[in-house]
Symmetry: D3
Subunit: 170 residues, 6 copies
């Protein structure tokens, strides 16, 4: 049977975890875009949507948390390489018809390894921050559809999700 | 209309974000349990399931990452209080029929504020670590159903999710 | 002559630095308030003041940075004790007549040591963040008057600055 | 009226904060020098000045804290890029006639973005550390004149403060 | 045969790692003392010993690094509980006859779990810092004899090493 | 007499600590290998050796901790440059005849400074983690022989320890 260590690069030939050698890779420009959403009660979404003008700006705070989260990726994910990000952007969309907020994060670097995990981490931390700020009124919020939308650059080339926002029911 | 600052405790009367005053709360034993799952290709799940005996142990590494992630919660979530955790446990279940791995995390403290965010952060970081370790063979993995299962302790009392694992299609 | 180690508690009898023993101190409620300001060009202040409604919200981002900075105090200041903060609040005042923004931070804990450094660190990080966000248009901004306004709780009792905002020219 | 998002690069066209894209910038050698001072009671300064020979070495400890603080800049300032510093130096001058200690920090990198924030953060953390170590005898110490002295390298070229140490009363 | 999970508390009954539940433990005063040494060339030790009066103060810097290292213990050791240290002290002894510097670290807390790891981490980081600062002249330095000298407090009571400094050849 | 600041590069001409300027150094591929061991009771080693199949996997957890520790080196060692690691690997060998586990760590980068400290830090954190996980049954464990085995790359060229594993009694 196929062993994990044969195909999962984070394991060596003996099956031991290691931080993969990327020293021979070319430093190229790399970009990754990830997404996810948090679903909630209608009243909770209304509260978020009404938070404007610096008052109760849930999404503004979640955006900052997501950007900072991207910078902590190699500290959170054991086998991630520490890298120098050249750009991070986090956007939200309020979907009233679905009682949800979607988050899309873009990460870029010029380096020897990809930034998928940085984009995904930004999404996760941004959505967790929304949860934190609204949990006093809605403990049942659920995070769904966190996935990679696309990546470009590097030896493995481009990836674009077959169905953008796959897994989303809306 | 109701303003976020009227009901969202992370904002003061002027709508400015702050770390809520918990100095008057009683230090009580608190516990929170959160869950979530990552869905993947059948072949990817087979690789994870075959990782045994220290060889290619994806879930063992994700468990450690989740536990360490719980300890970083107040560093990741801007308005979370720094707290001393007295217990963190992370468990996985491989669901072959659904091509998914579920993660359940439990966090406990004896303190003045709850540990929901710590449990949720553990789940998020554990699932992200699984993504990281398997992404070389499956970039379409998707994280779904991250939510709070239950919490106990503190002034707001107990919460138990109406439908455990709500949002899960399995 | 008086030696530092005779009066500066961060040194032992041999003059060696140490993290002071607070194990015998009573855990009491402690609060500290610190302030500081950043002075800038008139045009820069106008930009900050016009940043509203989630667009260009410099102060909203600086507030979050200050709160998070308070949580990193024991990581930044070598001999500070790690403590569990029960409250952090950061406020700004735009002083058009002085081309300045003042920042006031409040930190609280229930513990064995004071929170002056946490309040001061929040001020410093918040003001640095304003500098960072505006430096593209104004590299000459200057931070002045960073000081402790008051502290309460603990064996050494209360301190209130003789002249609130001492050192301020306005 | 001019909007912040038109001229402040940390905001995009919609006024949302982001970590600016520096991927197209050339990696060049960059240097920044920042300064600041802490003012105190005469007796406090005498204590600092007498701290020699490893005994009560306040400034030696503050220097280390400043250097380490520079390395934490992107962790503290939300929209700062993580960068690899190639040099950090922190110097102090005891000004007996002004009852003050000045701190000057130099940061260097070879990269796509400047190091002004790293130099400023080193100054702030070094001065905060002096405050921490002397606060037992002087709670009224005040930090003033924290500003950028000069920067070189990068597309925006050189900046040299019009009046070095502007804002200092001495 | 005895399984690790039967006696190693960091594993649950299924052999899975977890952060042990200490919520039922009494918060008591706890202390731990650890030691270790770094052996080097005679000329290297002479350099360290001559570093006085703020000039080339290798041991002063290593002391600060050790104290700060103690505060990072729960961030470094996966299953350690985050705790609030009430005291950390790091001492060095220059042993000319053995071409070595010994480091002894003491950590204290009032809490539900012991501080052995904090004391050991302080020793390790302090000795690594000495290595770092002297490696330009002596790459063969070796760290030996890192061990726990004693611990007190908590349910498991006191431990005192049978032979203090066991393993040391001097 | 020779002063530390004449030969120890971490001090400037005045004997003040600084982060050495490496801006003029060429970015080359650099590698370092470090080792160390932890000695324990025979019964403790048997427990570690029997930890297989995801149950009680002490060494698997210590490996992850060591890899993550390497990434924290510049945060732990005051004058270390922050660098981007391109590879980290941590291996263990169980030496039944010596009641010891040896740890060997390899770190690599493409940069302007070496990675000796990263390799040594990985060893130290991995061995500390073994201590943590086994301390409930064996408080007398001792870490010995932590040293650099070899380094390559950079201006100072290669170093290979005269006697690999020098200091080891076995």
């Amino acid at each position: 049977m196929t062993q994990p260590s044969e195909v999962l690069t984070h394991f060596d030939a003996q099956g031991q975890a290691h931080m993969v050698d990327v020293g021979d890779k070319t430093a190229t420009r790399r970009i990754a875009v990830a997404t996810g959403r948090i679903e909630m009660l209608r009243a909770t979404l209304a509260l978020i949507a009404s938070g404007t003008a610096k008052k109760g700006d849930v999404l503004g705070i979640a955006r900052i948390a997501g950007i900072q989260g991207a910078k902590k990726t190699s500290d959170l994910i054991p086998l991630c390489h520490p890298i120098g990000l050249t750009r991070v952007a986090v956007e939200f969309e309020v979907l009233h018809e679905h009682n949800a907020v979607t988050c899309t994060a873009t990460a870029e670097t010029v380096g020897q390894t990809g930034v998928e995990m940085e984009a995904l981490t930004a999404v996760q931390v941004a959505l967790l921050t929304i949860y934190d700020m609204c949990k006093a009124v809605d403990r049942g919020m659920t995070i769904n559809g966190v996935t990679l939308l696309e990546k470009h650059g590097g030896k493995s080339g481009s990836f674009v999700a077959a169905k953008p926002f796959s897994g989303q029911v809306f």
